[in-house]
Protein backbone atom coordinates (compact mmCIF):
# COMPACT_ATOMS: atom_id res chain seq x y z
CA UNK A 1 0.00 0.00 0.00
CA UNK A 2 2.74 2.38 0.98
CA UNK A 3 4.56 1.88 -2.28
CA UNK A 4 1.55 2.72 -4.42
CA UNK A 5 0.78 5.76 -2.31
CA UNK A 6 4.33 6.97 -2.64
CA UNK A 7 4.26 6.46 -6.36
CA UNK A 8 1.04 8.40 -6.82
CA UNK A 9 0.96 10.75 -3.92
CA UNK A 10 1.54 13.95 -5.85
CA UNK A 11 -1.55 15.78 -6.95
CA UNK A 12 -2.21 15.84 -10.63
CA UNK A 13 -5.50 17.72 -10.54
CA UNK A 14 -6.11 21.31 -11.62
CA UNK A 15 -4.68 22.59 -8.35
CA UNK A 16 -1.46 20.66 -8.40
CA UNK A 17 1.76 22.65 -8.38
CA UNK A 18 3.84 22.46 -11.51
CA UNK A 19 7.54 22.96 -11.93
CA UNK A 20 7.47 26.56 -13.06
CA UNK A 21 4.54 28.09 -11.28
CA UNK A 22 5.30 27.34 -7.65
CA UNK A 23 4.03 30.14 -5.42
CA UNK A 24 5.60 30.99 -2.10
CA UNK A 25 4.47 28.94 0.84
CA UNK A 26 2.56 31.49 2.93
CA UNK A 27 0.57 31.69 6.12
CA UNK A 28 -2.68 30.61 4.47
CA UNK A 29 -0.91 27.51 3.23
CA UNK A 30 0.52 26.91 6.69
CA UNK A 31 -2.91 27.14 8.25
CA UNK A 32 -4.39 24.87 5.60
CA UNK A 33 -1.70 22.29 6.31
CA UNK A 34 -2.28 22.54 10.05
CA UNK A 35 -5.98 22.00 9.49
CA UNK A 36 -5.46 19.11 7.12
CA UNK A 37 -3.06 17.38 9.49
CA UNK A 38 -5.44 18.04 12.40
CA UNK A 39 -2.75 19.87 14.29
CA UNK A 40 -3.12 21.31 17.76
CA UNK A 41 -2.23 25.00 17.69
CA UNK A 42 -0.27 26.47 20.57
CA UNK A 43 -0.49 30.25 20.57
CA UNK A 44 1.86 30.88 23.47
CA UNK A 45 4.91 31.62 21.31
CA UNK A 46 6.00 35.22 20.73
CA UNK A 47 6.31 35.36 16.95
CA UNK A 48 4.98 31.99 15.88
CA UNK A 49 1.99 29.89 16.74
CA UNK A 50 3.14 26.30 16.82
CA UNK A 51 1.18 23.51 15.16
CA UNK A 52 1.71 20.13 16.84
CA UNK A 53 0.74 17.06 14.85
CA UNK A 54 -0.14 13.84 16.64
CA UNK A 55 -0.62 10.37 15.24
CA UNK A 56 -2.07 7.66 17.45
CA UNK A 57 -1.53 9.90 20.45
CA UNK A 58 2.15 10.43 19.65
CA UNK A 59 3.61 13.80 18.71
CA UNK A 60 5.22 13.22 15.34
CA UNK A 61 5.89 16.70 13.95
CA UNK A 62 5.44 20.40 14.54
CA UNK A 63 5.92 23.66 12.71
CA UNK A 64 5.60 27.36 13.38
CA UNK A 65 2.96 29.61 11.85
CA UNK A 66 4.02 33.23 11.71
CA UNK A 67 1.86 35.95 13.17
CA UNK A 68 1.30 39.36 11.66
CA UNK A 69 -1.10 41.23 9.46
CA UNK A 70 0.44 40.06 6.18
CA UNK A 71 -1.12 36.80 5.08
CA UNK A 72 1.63 36.40 2.46
CA UNK A 73 4.38 36.02 5.04
CA UNK A 74 6.65 33.29 3.67
CA UNK A 75 6.87 30.03 5.60
CA UNK A 76 9.96 28.49 4.08
CA UNK A 77 10.75 26.58 7.26
CA UNK A 78 7.78 24.21 7.00
CA UNK A 79 9.07 21.71 4.41
CA UNK A 80 11.97 20.69 6.63
CA UNK A 81 9.66 20.36 9.61
CA UNK A 82 7.39 18.02 7.68
CA UNK A 83 10.25 16.21 5.92
CA UNK A 84 8.93 17.19 2.52
CA UNK A 85 10.23 19.10 -0.46
CA UNK A 86 8.79 22.62 -0.90
CA UNK A 87 6.64 21.55 -3.83
CA UNK A 88 5.33 18.58 -1.90
CA UNK A 89 4.49 20.83 1.03
CA UNK A 90 2.57 23.20 -1.20
CA UNK A 91 0.73 20.28 -2.71
CA UNK A 92 -0.18 19.20 0.80
CA UNK A 93 -1.71 22.63 1.38
CA UNK A 94 -3.63 23.14 -1.84
CA UNK A 95 -4.53 19.79 -3.33
CA UNK A 96 -5.90 16.41 -2.54
CA UNK A 97 -3.02 14.86 -0.63
CA UNK A 98 -4.59 13.56 2.54
CA UNK A 99 -3.37 13.38 6.08
CA UNK A 100 -3.24 9.59 5.78
CA UNK A 101 -1.01 9.84 2.74
CA UNK A 102 1.38 12.15 4.55
CA UNK A 103 1.44 9.73 7.50
CA UNK A 104 2.29 6.97 5.05
CA UNK A 105 5.10 9.01 3.57
CA UNK A 106 6.49 9.72 7.03
CA UNK A 107 6.18 6.03 7.91
CA UNK A 108 7.93 4.93 4.76
CA UNK A 109 10.71 7.39 5.48
CA UNK A 110 11.06 6.04 9.02
CA UNK A 111 9.92 9.14 10.88
CA UNK A 112 6.81 7.42 12.19
CA UNK A 113 6.80 3.85 13.44
CA UNK A 114 4.57 1.63 11.37
CA UNK A 115 1.70 -0.05 13.17
CA UNK A 116 3.15 -3.48 12.36
CA UNK A 117 6.45 -2.68 14.05
CA UNK A 118 4.61 -1.20 17.04
CA UNK A 119 2.59 -4.42 17.38
CA UNK A 120 5.79 -6.48 17.17
CA UNK A 121 7.44 -4.45 19.92
CA UNK A 122 4.37 -4.93 22.12
Amino acid sequence: MGRSLLANWQCYGPYSVGKTDMPTLNRDHARAIAKKLRATIDKSGKAHDIAYIYHNGVLVAHFGIRRGSDRNLPHGHIPDALHLRPRQTLNLAICTLTREQWIQIMTDAGWIESEESEAESD
Binding site: T24, D42, S44, G45, K46, A47, H48, I50, Y52, H55, G57, V58, L59, V60, A61, H62, G64, R66, L73, P74, H75, G76, H77, D80, A81, H83, G110, W111, I112, E113
Partner: protein, 220 residues
Protein backbone atom coordinates in the same frame (compact mmCIF):
# COMPACT_ATOMS: atom_id res chain seq x y z
CA UNK B 1 49.59 18.49 -35.77
CA UNK B 2 49.91 16.37 -32.70
CA UNK B 3 53.35 17.79 -32.01
CA UNK B 4 52.23 21.35 -31.49
CA UNK B 5 54.05 22.93 -28.59
CA UNK B 6 52.91 26.48 -28.51
CA UNK B 7 49.90 26.82 -30.72
CA UNK B 8 47.53 29.67 -31.33
CA UNK B 9 43.99 28.44 -30.91
CA UNK B 10 41.17 30.41 -32.43
CA UNK B 11 37.49 29.45 -32.26
CA UNK B 12 35.87 30.29 -35.56
CA UNK B 13 32.43 31.62 -36.25
CA UNK B 14 30.69 29.14 -38.52
CA UNK B 15 30.08 31.52 -41.40
CA UNK B 16 33.63 32.77 -41.65
CA UNK B 17 35.37 30.16 -43.67
CA UNK B 18 39.12 30.52 -43.76
CA UNK B 19 40.77 30.69 -47.13
CA UNK B 20 44.33 29.50 -47.27
CA UNK B 21 44.92 27.19 -50.19
CA UNK B 22 48.39 26.25 -49.25
CA UNK B 23 47.39 25.23 -45.75
CA UNK B 24 45.42 22.20 -44.63
CA UNK B 25 41.81 22.91 -43.74
CA UNK B 26 39.90 21.87 -40.72
CA UNK B 27 37.46 19.02 -40.93
CA UNK B 28 33.70 19.28 -40.85
CA UNK B 29 32.53 20.84 -37.61
CA UNK B 30 35.98 22.08 -36.69
CA UNK B 31 35.81 25.54 -35.21
CA UNK B 32 39.33 26.21 -34.14
CA UNK B 33 42.49 27.25 -35.78
CA UNK B 34 45.80 26.21 -34.36
CA UNK B 35 48.99 27.85 -35.45
CA UNK B 36 52.11 25.77 -35.02
CA UNK B 37 54.86 26.90 -32.72
CA UNK B 38 56.80 28.17 -35.67
CA UNK B 39 54.44 31.12 -35.74
CA UNK B 40 54.77 33.95 -33.32
CA UNK B 41 52.49 36.82 -32.43
CA UNK B 42 54.50 39.96 -33.07
CA UNK B 43 51.94 42.53 -32.04
CA UNK B 44 48.43 42.52 -30.65
CA UNK B 45 46.08 45.49 -30.75
CA UNK B 46 42.84 45.24 -28.81
CA UNK B 47 40.36 48.11 -29.04
CA UNK B 48 37.57 48.89 -26.59
CA UNK B 49 35.00 47.45 -28.99
CA UNK B 50 36.63 44.07 -28.68
CA UNK B 51 38.27 44.16 -32.07
CA UNK B 52 41.62 42.51 -32.04
CA UNK B 53 44.35 42.74 -34.63
CA UNK B 54 47.28 40.40 -34.56
CA UNK B 55 50.45 40.52 -36.57
CA UNK B 56 51.83 37.05 -36.78
CA UNK B 57 55.01 35.88 -38.44
CA UNK B 58 56.12 32.53 -39.70
CA UNK B 59 59.57 32.17 -38.19
CA UNK B 60 60.63 29.66 -40.81
CA UNK B 61 60.19 31.87 -43.87
CA UNK B 62 59.63 35.28 -42.25
CA UNK B 63 56.24 35.54 -43.91
CA UNK B 64 53.88 37.87 -42.08
CA UNK B 65 50.11 37.82 -41.84
CA UNK B 66 47.47 39.90 -40.11
CA UNK B 67 44.56 38.44 -38.22
CA UNK B 68 41.58 40.58 -37.34
CA UNK B 69 39.18 39.21 -34.79
CA UNK B 70 36.56 40.15 -32.23
CA UNK B 71 36.57 38.98 -28.66
CA UNK B 72 34.26 36.04 -28.18
CA UNK B 73 32.65 35.09 -24.90
CA UNK B 74 36.08 34.38 -23.56
CA UNK B 75 36.74 38.11 -23.78
CA UNK B 76 40.37 37.52 -23.27
CA UNK B 77 43.42 36.60 -25.17
CA UNK B 78 46.22 34.67 -23.62
CA UNK B 79 49.39 35.87 -25.19
CA UNK B 80 51.81 34.38 -22.72
CA UNK B 81 52.01 31.06 -24.48
CA UNK B 82 51.29 32.46 -27.92
CA UNK B 83 47.76 31.19 -27.50
CA UNK B 84 44.94 33.42 -28.60
CA UNK B 85 41.28 32.56 -28.29
CA UNK B 86 38.91 34.76 -30.21
CA UNK B 87 36.27 34.78 -32.88
CA UNK B 88 37.79 35.00 -36.29
CA UNK B 89 36.54 37.49 -38.84
CA UNK B 90 39.24 37.29 -41.46
CA UNK B 91 41.27 34.81 -43.41
CA UNK B 92 43.97 32.98 -41.57
CA UNK B 93 46.05 29.93 -42.17
CA UNK B 94 44.24 26.92 -40.93
CA UNK B 95 45.88 23.99 -39.27
CA UNK B 96 44.94 21.71 -36.51
CA UNK B 97 42.85 18.82 -35.40
CA UNK B 98 43.80 17.24 -32.07
CA UNK B 99 44.63 20.15 -29.81
CA UNK B 100 42.04 22.28 -31.56
CA UNK B 101 39.36 19.75 -30.80
CA UNK B 102 40.26 19.82 -27.12
CA UNK B 103 40.13 23.60 -26.97
CA UNK B 104 36.86 23.53 -28.86
CA UNK B 105 35.39 21.12 -26.33
CA UNK B 106 36.58 23.24 -23.41
CA UNK B 107 35.16 26.32 -25.02
CA UNK B 108 31.76 24.73 -25.45
CA UNK B 109 31.86 23.34 -21.91
CA UNK B 110 32.67 26.75 -20.48
CA UNK B 111 29.81 28.37 -22.34
CA UNK B 112 27.46 25.70 -21.08
CA UNK B 113 28.67 26.13 -17.49
CA UNK B 114 28.28 29.90 -17.71
CA UNK B 115 24.69 29.47 -18.85
CA UNK B 116 23.96 27.07 -16.02
CA UNK B 117 25.48 29.37 -13.41
CA UNK B 118 23.37 32.27 -14.67
CA UNK B 119 20.29 30.08 -14.55
CA UNK B 120 21.02 28.97 -11.01
CA UNK B 121 21.63 32.55 -9.89
CA UNK B 122 18.28 33.56 -11.35
CA UNK B 123 16.53 30.65 -9.68
CA UNK B 124 17.92 31.57 -6.28
CA UNK B 125 16.71 35.11 -6.77
CA UNK B 126 19.94 36.58 -5.52
CA UNK B 127 23.50 35.60 -4.98
CA UNK B 128 22.81 35.19 -1.28
CA UNK B 129 24.79 32.52 0.43
CA UNK B 130 23.56 30.85 3.62
CA UNK B 131 25.37 32.16 6.66
CA UNK B 132 25.98 30.61 10.04
CA UNK B 133 25.11 32.62 13.12
CA UNK B 134 25.93 31.58 16.67
CA UNK B 135 23.29 31.74 19.37
CA UNK B 136 24.98 32.71 22.62
CA UNK B 137 22.08 33.49 24.95
CA UNK B 138 18.30 33.34 25.31
CA UNK B 139 17.72 36.49 27.36
CA UNK B 140 15.21 37.43 28.68
CA UNK B 141 14.04 33.81 28.68
CA UNK B 142 15.22 31.83 31.74
CA UNK B 143 17.47 29.59 29.67
CA UNK B 144 21.21 29.41 29.27
CA UNK B 145 23.31 27.95 26.51
CA UNK B 146 25.36 24.93 27.48
CA UNK B 147 26.56 23.87 24.05
CA UNK B 148 27.31 25.37 20.70
CA UNK B 149 24.19 26.48 18.90
CA UNK B 150 24.70 27.59 15.35
CA UNK B 151 21.84 28.68 13.19
CA UNK B 152 22.05 28.38 9.45
CA UNK B 153 20.31 31.37 7.88
CA UNK B 154 19.27 31.27 4.25
CA UNK B 155 17.18 33.51 2.08
CA UNK B 156 13.74 32.30 1.09
CA UNK B 157 12.35 34.66 -1.54
CA UNK B 158 11.60 37.87 0.39
CA UNK B 159 12.33 36.55 3.86
CA UNK B 160 14.87 34.48 5.75
CA UNK B 161 14.77 31.05 7.31
CA UNK B 162 16.94 30.25 10.32
CA UNK B 163 17.47 26.59 11.08
CA UNK B 164 19.11 24.87 14.02
CA UNK B 165 20.24 22.07 11.79
CA UNK B 166 21.23 19.58 14.50
CA UNK B 167 17.66 19.50 15.79
CA UNK B 168 15.90 20.32 12.50
CA UNK B 169 14.09 23.26 14.08
CA UNK B 170 13.45 26.24 11.86
CA UNK B 171 11.72 29.59 11.83
CA UNK B 172 11.19 32.38 9.32
CA UNK B 173 11.64 36.12 9.66
CA UNK B 174 11.77 39.33 7.66
CA UNK B 175 15.48 39.78 8.29
CA UNK B 176 18.32 37.50 9.31
CA UNK B 177 18.12 38.71 12.90
CA UNK B 178 14.35 38.33 12.89
CA UNK B 179 14.64 34.76 11.72
CA UNK B 180 17.21 33.92 14.41
CA UNK B 181 15.11 35.61 17.10
CA UNK B 182 12.09 33.59 15.99
CA UNK B 183 14.18 30.44 15.98
CA UNK B 184 15.19 31.10 19.58
CA UNK B 185 11.54 31.61 20.44
CA UNK B 186 10.69 28.30 18.80
CA UNK B 187 13.48 26.50 20.63
CA UNK B 188 12.33 27.77 24.01
CA UNK B 189 8.70 26.94 23.29
CA UNK B 190 9.61 23.46 22.05
CA UNK B 191 11.89 22.81 25.00
CA UNK B 192 8.93 23.34 27.33
CA UNK B 193 6.35 21.50 25.29
CA UNK B 194 8.47 18.48 24.40
CA UNK B 195 9.64 18.15 28.00
CA UNK B 196 6.04 18.08 29.17
CA UNK B 197 5.09 15.43 26.64
CA UNK B 198 8.21 13.33 26.94
CA UNK B 199 6.26 10.11 27.31
CA UNK B 200 4.53 10.41 23.97
CA UNK B 201 7.07 11.75 21.57
CA UNK B 202 7.68 10.32 18.13
CA UNK B 203 11.18 9.66 16.82
CA UNK B 204 11.94 13.13 15.56
CA UNK B 205 10.51 15.15 18.49
CA UNK B 206 12.32 12.82 20.93
CA UNK B 207 15.57 13.41 19.10
CA UNK B 208 14.92 17.14 19.03
CA UNK B 209 14.36 17.19 22.79
CA UNK B 210 17.61 15.31 23.35
CA UNK B 211 19.51 17.78 21.20
CA UNK B 212 17.86 20.76 22.90
CA UNK B 213 18.81 19.38 26.31
CA UNK B 214 22.38 19.02 25.14
CA UNK B 215 22.68 22.67 24.19
CA UNK B 216 20.51 24.61 26.63
CA UNK B 217 19.04 24.33 30.10
CA UNK B 218 16.61 26.21 32.26
CA UNK B 219 18.24 28.62 34.73
CA UNK B 220 17.77 27.84 38.40
Amino acid sequence: MTQLISPLAIPLLGRHKPVAPSWPEAGEGENLIVLPASFQIMQATITTGGKQTYDIINKQNAEEQDITAYASDFASVMLGGNIGVFSLLSNVPLVGQGFAAQISLLWKEMRSIKKQVKKLARREGAAYHPVEMSILHFEPEPFEVTGGIRALVRQDKDSFVATFVDANIGASGETQNDAVANLKDMMVALFGRLSKEEGRLGKEPARQLAVLRAVLRRKN
